[in-house]
């Protein structure tokens, strides 16, 4: 019946389908739907930049306006991938520019972004509106200056946790007087001092500004002036928050903050004098998101008092100095909590204030809506995990990191198999899982049996044999990303079902038992996969013996064969 509708009608219907997974499904229905869908697709998500080429992207979606690209594998975050591994965005920008694509939005994660790329973007795409860079590197303040100066309709410049080795702040002064379209500006990760007058003027002429995240260099009196000029802010990231609570500056700040009735998200406090937190209390009641994970200065009573004002919190990111008691306060205050992330404040130390299983149990009991967790802790017990599983069956993301990664249950001295088993059995919607603690093959049996919706699994220092990996590969039908380090999985597990890897985005294995010969076999059997061996050792000669264990292997499905930009330390089989 739908075939009798003219294309425009179908296109109009498809306009309501925005999620890329749904659009992918739509395009598989029949030829005409495929055709109509591809011409009307505006947003494209590419989870691995080496799985497809820019030329093929444009051939299929000539109307693309918004592109999301991800580059390096996740473990690059933890220094397990050489800095020059790849993930360069320049080739993409070059091709998009040459084919006249009207790019408006670019979202990049773990990619290398050169100043040249940023300049090319700023000078080519006249309607460019949004640049979001997450965990990227390779650019400096010069590239940002080009974006500021040339993108006349820029709405969003969002820089999250990028490594920018440039301490100049001149880029902010490059926004022309005619730029009044900013909706979101986040430069919290930059170190340079921006011209404060230029910042104030920019905010003054941006009536649509909803999100503003400042860096450390922005002092308190500027913050106060900015808030006076932008009381419509919804999301605020405070840079420096040091003042004397009895001073005039502090009073002015309190007044300015009280005018901001729309702030729902608060972060930063990159530099903080904790006795001044009371000035923030008036807006705490509306907060749905609070990120204090970069504010080690706020702890103890000051932290818990602050949280007690935040009854509507849905998302909370904090440091483990909150302690189990502090988590108890979260549990009794934040009944709407959905996402909790507790980061370590001192990853190497004794962690006196760190959290344990007790804090997690308290939160699970008090916050039944909890569905996303990242929890770094000193220890965990099976009993606690079983309780958490019962209290919170709605977990979509469950990432537990015990600081000593092979620590057993300290009460029973048993592995944590049963605890994690309870989590996967109870949480039927679980999509992402990270394991730690002492774990045997048994936990993987449970995962393979129960984690039917699991898409991403991270494993470290676990299992006893190949069986562990096989349980997962055989059981988890929706698995897309599997990353493993320091586990005794070898060729038998790797080669059991190589066809499976074509149904996944990628597989990472480092410090396991797989050999060069095993990896070569995968590459030979599956031409649709790129199998990369990363060897960063000082050995000038890479040992070509097939029996040699491989230090790091990263394989991923691709439609465009071997990439040409791999450095010397990466060998593509």
């Amino acid at each position: 019946m739908m075939n009798y509708f003219p294309d425009e009608v179908l296109e109009h219907v498809f306009d309501f389908i925005t999620c890329h997974k749904d659009r992918n499904s739509v395009s598989l229905v029949c030829k005409s739907w495929h055709r109509i869908e591809r011409y009307s697709r505006r947003r494209v998500f590419i989870g691995n930049c080496y799985s497809i080429s820019p030329e093929r992207l444009i051939a299929r979606f000539p109307g693309v306006k918004s592109l999301t690209l991800k580059g390096k594998p996740h473990f690059a975050d933890f220094n397990l991938v050489p800095y020059d591994w790849g993930g360069f965005v320049y080739p993409w920008i070059k091709v998009l520019a040459e084919t006249g694509i009207g790019l408006e939005e670019l979202r990049l994660k773990r990619m290398v972004v050169s100043d040249e790329s940023l300049e090319l973007i700023s000078k080519t795409f006249v309607n460019f509106q949004s640049l979001v860079l997450v965990s990227c590197d390779g650019f400096s303040a010069d590239g940002l200056a080009a974006i500021a100066a040339n993108c006349r309709f820029l709405r969003e410049l969002d820089l999250q946790e990028n490594e920018v080795d440039d301490h100049r702040g001149h880029w902010l002064s490059c926004f022309p007087e005619s730029c009044t379209s900013l909706v979101s500006l986040n430069f919290a990760c930059l170190k340079g001092e921006v011209n404060l007058g230029a910042l104030e003027r920019l905010v003054s002429r941006s009536p649509n500004l909803k999100s503003l995240r400042l860096n450390r260099s922005v002092p308190l009196d500027t913050l106060q002036k900015l808030l006076m000029r932008a009381p419509q802010l919804v999301d605020l990231g405070i840079g420096s928050y040091v003042h004397d609570p009895s001073s005039e500056a502090s009073n002015k700040l309190k007044h300015a903050i009280q005018r901001c009735k729309s702030i729902m998200s608060l972060s930063g406090f990159l530099e903080v004098a904790p006795r001044c937190m009371s000035a923030i209390y008036p807006i705490c009641g509306n907060l749905t998101t609070l990120n204090l994970s970069y504010a080690p200065g706020i702890h103890g009573n000051k932290l818990t008092k602050l949280i007690q004002h935040c009854r509507k919190l849905q998302r909370l990111w904090i440091l483990d100095c909150i302690g189990d008691k502090g988590l108890g306060v979260v549990a009794s205050t934040c009944k709407e909590l959905q996402e909790l992330r507790v980061f370590p404040s001192d990853p190497f130390g004794a962690g006196n204030d760190a959290v344990t299983e007790e804090g997690l149990v308290l939160v699970s009991a008090g916050c039944p809506k909890l569905n996303s967790l990242l929890y770094f802790c000193q220890q965990m017990t099976n009993a606690a995990l079983i309780t958490v599983a019962k209290n919170c069956p709605n977990f979509i993301r469950f990432r537990l990191c015990i600081l000593d990664p092979v620590r057993p249950d300290p009460v029973t001295n048993q592995p944590l198999d049963e605890g994690f088993g309870a989590i996967v059995q109870s949480c039927k919607r679980l999509k992402r899982l990270s394991l730690s603690g002492l774990l045997t093959d048994q936990v993987f049996l449970y995962i393979g049996m129960y984690a039917e919706q699991l898409e991403m699994l991270s494993i470290a220092f676990a299992a006893d044999s190949d069986k562990g990996m096989l349980y997962v590969l055989n059981g988890c039908k929706k698995l897309r990303k599997l990353e493993i380090r320091d586990c005794p999985f070898g060729n038998a597990a790797l080669l059991e079902d190589v066809g499976k890897y074509e149904t996944m985005r990628s597989l990472w294995m480092s410090s396991c038992e797989v050999t060069l010969g095993g990896c070569k076999t995968v590459a030979e059997m599956m031409p649709s996969l790129n199998v990369e061996i990363i060897n960063e050792s000082d050995q000038t000669e890479f040992n070509l013996d097939d029996g040699q264990k491989v230090d790091k292997m990263y394989l991923y499905r691709t439609l465009v064969g071997h990439r040409k930009d791999a450095p010397e330390s990466v060998w593509i089989l």
Partner: protein, 176 residues
């Protein structure tokens, strides 16, 4: 680091492939075994493994305060004092705050800077933009990053500060 003749080779820090016979036919590289073979660089009794705990490198560098020992850089700046024949140099990184700095300057020049009421000097500094600023306004960490040189100026030379009330500013900050 080599400690020849003491048999510490087994604890040598390695990132390469496990060749050389240190680990043979191990089914599982247990964390504790890896820790043993890596040298303890921090001297706190806890060993470190590459990439563990899994905290992204940006967060490692930015949320652990001073504990991770990344502040090894030096911040030497010239210090001049009105009336003194020679300039001195001081490493700002060695000091914890303005109060500490005042004590150090006192030792260098022999003038009392802390007691602001009777003090006839005002500490100012030149920042990255070339402007002369009154010391004490910005947080200490920001100060040492932007300070290029220090000058201890005679109060009688301070003209037109007016509203800023340098006495209060100096008293408030150097005494913190």
């Amino acid at each position: 680091m080599e400690k020849e003749g003491l048999g510490f080779e087994i604890t040598e820090l390695r990132l390469g492939l496990p060749g050389g016979g240190e680990i043979k036919n191990e089914k599982k590289r247990v964390f504790s075994e890896i820790s043993e073979e890596e040298e303890n660089g921090k001297g706190n009794g806890k060993s470190q493994v590459v990439g563990w705990p899994p905290v992204c490198s940006y967060r490692r560098k930015n949320s652990f305060g001073d504990k991770d020992g990344s502040k090894t850089s030096k911040f030497y700046v010239k210090v001049s004092m009105d009336g003194a024949p020679f300039l001195r140099k001081i490493d700002l990184a060695l000091h914890k705050g303005y109060s500490d700095l005042a004590t150090a300057l006192e030792k260098l020049f022999g003038e009392v800077l802390k007691d602001a009421d009777s003090c006839e000097f005002v500490p100012i500094y030149e920042d990255k933009d070339g402007d002369w600023m009154l010391a004490g306004d910005v947080p200490w960490e920001m100060f040492i990053e932007s300070c290029k040189r220090l000058r201890i100026m005679k109060r009688s030379d301070v003209k037109g500060f007016g509203v800023l009330q340098p006495r209060e500013a100096v008293k408030g900050t150097l005494k913190e």
